[in-house]
């Protein structure tokens, strides 16, 4: 549509966010809300041509933009998306729209600043996915955390300071080491920060690759999050407002997995292969161990947070399924489908919890029971998301897990068997929670007073439900976009740099 489509997708939400911010105090809250929804909608609409105009027969970068930025250090304003990152730009723009709608009346304290934070964050996240220059990526990657700190710190729950501090401590650790790795690669690639130039470096000794891999690992594994650097996520989710949780689960976690895919795998193929057993082991621990931990949570948000970690285990598992030097295509594409699907499903789950929290002001499972009696429409929607979270076929939750398991069988039967335990554990923790919260007799007077969803909530739930079902019934629509890019990735990773 436009020649600089990606720039628009990045900067339009940021400009909108600044405009919303300019509405100032709480007296013009409604103006801020409408402005925010308009900005989010424009951002989403601007991202759609990336999908419709995408050339499925081109595995390389599309919609590229290159402008010099800091020429003396070879840093460029270089943007572009392939069949992988394009999906996440759209997912992010979509989620932002949902989040703005979700926070409509719930947020009464400084709504303009709240909405603005999300819009600005949305632009920054798009930037991280679209950046093809490592420093540009780094700036967006770190920059997007600032609005998130604010969202948790200002609109969060009682322990928000502990949660943001923990989040900060975790991420700081990794990010700095990644910067060191990027600077090393800058010299190796001939004084450029271009990511594709990094990938094209022909020779890197194995011990150097392993050190660099560890640097990237520390940065990205925290974001995913992988076991054992996951403990910030449940705390962050519990303290974050509903919208914060939705973005955190739907998008922020994906950046970690995307980082592995864009940096660690193609730049350091030999280290990735050598260390893949560790990645697989940590992923399987996430699936099984975290699945069991989710089972015993009494706080709904913690439960879904642990469920997210367990589901992200499928993503990292899928990304590191090596047969010889070849990645398994089923597993890689499954990981990508799982990432997009988890974006819809976890956003749906967190929104459902938010809807109940707004009415009862509790996240404790024990404070509920029999919600279906009072909120039948809501109960039906939540059933759909719960089933998607349990990986039921015909929902998006199935497609990704299925593909990863199919890929894993081809590599090692036991990987698949351990991963497939999610069929049991995933259903157990999700549906057990659903049973205790939604089914049964009305358990107390708070539940008795719950009113069913309003139009705005219905809209958000319905749109997310359509996404979940649509992707479950026709994953091909997403998968066909990524085939060639994934093929390129696999071919690239198969070439040794020793």
């Amino acid at each position: 549509m436009f020649t600089n489509q990606l720039s628009l997708v990045i900067w339009a939400p940021i400009v909108a966010g600044l405009l919303v911010l300019a509405t100032g105090g709480d007296q013009r809250a409604n103006l801020a809300r409408w402005l925010a929804v308009a900005g989010a909608l424009i951002g989403f609409l601007l991202s759609l041509p990336l999908f419709t105009g995408f050339d499925n027969l081109n595995g390389g970068m599309q919609f590229e933009e290159v402008k010099p930025w800091i020429a003396s250090f070879g840093i460029q304003y270089h943007l572009g998306v392939d069949g992988i990152s394009m999906l996440f730009v759209i997912l992010n723009s979509f989620t932002t729209l949902m989040v703005v709608l979700a926070g409509w009346q719930v947020i009464q304290k400084r709504p303009a600043q709240y909405m603005a934070a999300f819009l600005i964050m949305s632009g920054l996240i798009n930037g991280a996915f679209a950046a093809l220059d490592a420093i540009l990526f780094y700036v967006f990657f770190e920059g997007m955390l600032i609005p998130m700190y604010l969202i948790i710190g200002v609109w969060g729950g009682p322990r928000r300071v502990y949660a943001s501090f923990k989040f900060f401590l975790y991420t700081l650790l990794g990010s700095l080491l990644m910067l060191v790795a990027l600077i090393y690669l800058y010299f190796q690639a001939g004084k450029t920060f271009d990511i594709q130039a990094f990938q094209a470096i022909a020779k890197i000794p194995l011990n150097v690759q392993i050190l660099l891999f560890i640097a990237f690992f520390l940065s990205f594994a925290v974001k995913v999050p992988m076991w054992p650097v996951h403990t910030w996520l449940p705390d962050a989710h519990v303290e974050a407002p509903t919208g914060g949780s939705m973005v955190l689960a739907a998008i922020t976690l994906k950046i970690g997995a995307y980082g592995f895919l864009r940096f660690a795998l193609p730049i350091l193929p030999d280290a990735a292969r050598e260390l893949s057993w560790i990645m697989v082991a940590l992923s399987l621990v996430a699936v099984v161990y975290i699945g069991l931990v989710a089972l015993v949570q009494s706080d709904m948000k913690k439960l879904v947070a642990y469920s997210s970690i367990s589901h992200m285990g499928f993503v990292t598992l899928g990304l590191f399924m090596f047969t010889g030097s070849h990645l398994n295509q089923w597993a890689v594409e499954g990981a990508l489908v799982q990432m997009v699907s988890h974006g819809f499903v976890s956003a749906g789950m967190f929104f459902c919890i938010g809807v109940m929290y707004d009415r009862v002001h509790s996240r404790n499972i024990a404070d509920y029971g029999g919600v279906a009696n009072k909120m039948p429409i809501f109960a039906a929607f939540m059933m759909l998301f719960a089933m998607a979270n349990s990986g039921l076929p015909a929902t998006s939750g199935f497609a990704g897990e299925f593909m990863v398991i199919m890929g894993a069988v081809q590599v090692n039967f036991w990987y698949a068997a351990l991963a497939a335990t999610t069929l049991i554990f995933g259903a157990a923790y999700t549906l057990w929670m659903y049973k205790r919260v939604i089914f049964g007799e009305v358990s107390n007077h708070h539940v008795e007073e719950m009113a069913d969803v309003n139009k705005r909530e219905f809209l958000v739930l319905a749109v997310l439900a359509i996404a979940v079902l649509g992707m479950g019934l026709y994953p091909q629509g997403f998968v066909e976009k990524m085939h060639l890019s994934v093929n390129d990735l696999i071919a690239h990773v198969a070439q040794t740099k020793l």
Partner: protein, 676 residues
């Protein structure tokens, strides 16, 4: 109309009904909701009969084509697609016919329920899912249908979601089925990995013969036959869905759902999906004797030991439920004996007479004002004549009375097992033959307790109401009430199901089991597994088989079962009471269902929660957070305390530090220049 549109119409018309009743039921009301769903299923049923007729008369061709592409990966296409052959055609008729009967019946059974539209929406959705399952031409869609029927089963068992027992039962059903699906999915994974990268039945079956001697190492150092491992994993899926020991525990509890769905889902159709699946996979199972032995053992344990449990139940629905388990065991035994056509034949006859028995039980429950305890019944024969007669016919079919449909299918199973050469066949034969007595005994125990003898509700104590369907203030009959026959929407399906329960076996055995109906669809290696072929030599027509049966062992055992039941519960009721006392240990074990529920609860439910708590409290909180994260934070704190001491706030102190620093750097710099 081309065939593809025809089959699409069969599958989709129940879905359309379901969507209309489900999403717009609140607007269009009760009447329109049941009209639209019944219409959808009726269209499906009519077309299914047409398809079956075409196959029976030999005019139809096998249809195998994709509908749309679900996914492509690595150059392979995975589609939603239909395979309609004789096996599918038979299942289409069974599913849509029973479903139609249940739809009509539901108008009467659920008339007072506030969730009327929702119920119709669910059962139509179930019909759609089941049709997709049986019409599938590939493993993925099979799994889709497999899970979708599981979902609807979950929703319907928990239909009365206020009841703690119902929502316990539906969660249990879903999770136990998921254990089966775990195996099933891994089985599908092996198929995809080794059978040429396709999940279409035709491709997989074509690739199978070349893999007969292929081994894989699941445990390093152990070479296992690929086909055996694959088949056993697939069969684990069937064990979940078709409730075979040890994954049977969910089915009795599923009786918490309304009775119409017990008939449709938990007796006639969904639970036979496992049997259907194994029959569909006969080209694979035929290549592994080990897998067939496993099938035989699971089936025979289920057939006999679940029958025992039927004897001690007092809830009328639970008797029928255990009977269903036992009959599913019979079908599984038939599969193990490589008599797949016989298994499918029993699927069909069982669907009719067991749906009839369940719906009859439902009619009795309505007559008793939602009291399900047989100890409060008795003498219902004269108050509910149609229910009585049809239930009697259903019971006679179930116990295998000669010339009834159940006789033809069950006797064929017994004979096939007798002729099987597999090691497990001896045990299986004992189980199915002993099962005949047990079946006859519990069936007629129920029959006599319900329809004959004293009218026990009259002497019932007031505190004694076991009403399970008491969601809307039903408390069973009072001492002065009279039961009443159910309305025509309930009795009509009973009559329409009684007809095939009596007749279909006589007419169907020859084409289905010994004819060419399943030819080219079900594969049997007759050299290795000759049971069915030998059986065919002994078969001289349906009437000869019926006549011959009067002198056979199964008939005598069934007769003995009926007579014993009559004697125990009509003539001398003190005997069962005495036996109960004398063998109280055995009675305890049976009443507690061999303590399997307790065992599973203690080991799996409690075990995984304990493990989860351990990981959470020790792994996450103590080690990761306590030691590492907060430890690091403390370390930073301690370090910054030290650093803070340097920050005195006095300018001279900072200046001094700076000068020292500059001097140090200069020294370093100069020394490098000098040393170079």
């Amino acid at each position: 109309m081309d065939m593809k549109s025809l089959y699409l119409l069969i599958a989709l018309s129940p879905l359309v009904g379901s969507i209309i009743a489900g999403l717009f039921g609140w607007a269009i009301g009760r009447r329109a909701s049941h009209v639209v769903t019944i219409l959808g299923v009726a269209v499906s049923a009519a077309l299914s009969f047409k398809v079956l007729y075409a196959f029976l008369s030999g005019q139809a061709e096998v249809f195998n084509a994709p509908v749309y592409t679900w996914l492509t990966v690595g150059g392979y296409e995975f589609s939603v697609g239909f395979l309609v052959d004789s096996l599918t055609a038979m299942m289409l008729v069974v599913v849509t016919f029973v479903s139609l009967m249940v739809h009509i019946y539901t108008i009467g059974y659920m008339q007072e329920d506030p969730g009327y539209q929702r119920f119709f929406s669910y059962i139509s959705l179930f019909t759609f899912s089941m049709l997709m399952l049986v019409m599938s031409n590939n493993f993925i869609q099979l799994f889709f249908g497999w899970e979708a029927v599981g979902l609807v089963s979950y929703l319907l068992i928990g239909f009365w979601f206020k009841r703690p027992t119902a929502i316990y039962a539906n969660l249990k059903a879903f999770l136990v089925n998921r254990v089966g699906d775990f195996g099933f999915l891994l089985g599908i994974g092996l198929v995809l990995a080794y059978f040429g990268g396709s999940l279409n039945y035709s491709d997989v079956f074509a690739a199978a013969p070349a893999l007969a001697s292929k081994t894989i190492q699941i445990i390093p150092g152990c070479d296992w036959s690929l086909l055996t491992v694959t088949c056993i994993l697939l069969f684990i899926g069937a064990m979940g869905k078709s409730a075979q020991f040890p994954l049977h525990v969910w089915l009795p509890d599923s009786m918490e759902g309304p009775t119409p769905i017990s008939a449709l889902i938990h007796a006639a159709t969904m639970v036979t999906a496992g049997i259907f699946m194994v029959s569909r996979m006969s080209p694979l199972f035929e290549m592994s004797d080990t897998a067939l032995n496993v099938v035989l053992v699971a089936g025979s344990i289920t057939a006999l030991f679940m029958g025992f449990l039927g004897i001690v139940q007092n809830d009328i629905k639970r008797v029928v439920a255990y009977s269903t388990l036992s009959q599913l065991g019979y079908m599984t035994v038939a599969l193990g004996a490589s008599a797949y056509p016989v298994a499918m034949f029993h699927v069909m006859t069982h669907a009719f007479f067991k749906a009839l028995l369940f719906l009859g039980a439902g009619s009795v429950i309505m007559g008793m004002h939602h009291d399900q305890d047989m100890r409060n019944m008795g003498g219902l024969r004269k108050y509910m004549p149609i229910t009585w007669l049809t239930s009697l016919l259903g019971s006679l079919a179930l116990i295998g009375t000669p010339f009834f449909s159940g006789f033809y299918s069950k006797d064929s199973i017994i004979e096939a097992v007798q002729l099987s050469h597999l090691p497990a066949a001896g045990f299986a034969y004992f189980a199915v033959i002993a099962g005949v007595f047990v079946t006859a005994f519990y069936s007629f125990r129920m029959y006599f307790l319900v329809f004959h003898g004293k009218e026990r509700w009259m002497e019932k104590k007031d505190d004694h109401h076991h009403g399970h369907d008491d969601h809307d203030h039903h408390h069973g009959l009072g001492p002065n009430d009279k039961p009443h026959e159910s309305p025509w929407v309930v009795t009509l399906p009973l009559v329409l199901l009684a007809i095939p329960s009596v007749l279909v076996g006589f007419f169907a055995i020859e084409p289905l089991v010994y004819g060419s109906f399943f030819k080219g669809v079900i594969a049997i290696h007759s050299e290795a597994h000759p049971a069915l072929e030998e059986l065919a030599h002994e078969f001289h027509g349906a009437s000869a088989m019926g006549m011959h049966a009067f002198t056979s062992l199964p008939f005598l055992l069934a007769l003995a079962g009926v007579v014993t039941a009559w004697f125990f519960y009509m003539k001398a009721p003190q005997i069962p009471a005495a036996i109960k006392q004398k063998f109280s240990f055995i009675n305890q074990v049976l009443e507690n269902k061999y303590y399997l529920d307790e065992l599973y609860y203690a080991v799996f439910a409690k075990g995984s929660r304990a493990l989860g708590t351990f990981f959470w409290k020790v792994g996450d909180m103590l080690l990761i957070d306590g030691l590492v994260v907060n430890g690091a934070a403390k370390l930073v704190g301690t370090f910054s305390k030290l650093v803070r001491k340097l920050q005195t706030g006095f300018i001279y102190s900072y200046a001094m530090t700076m000068i020292i620093g500059v001097l140090a750097l200069m020294t370093l710099w100069f020394s490098q220049i000098i040393l170079r």
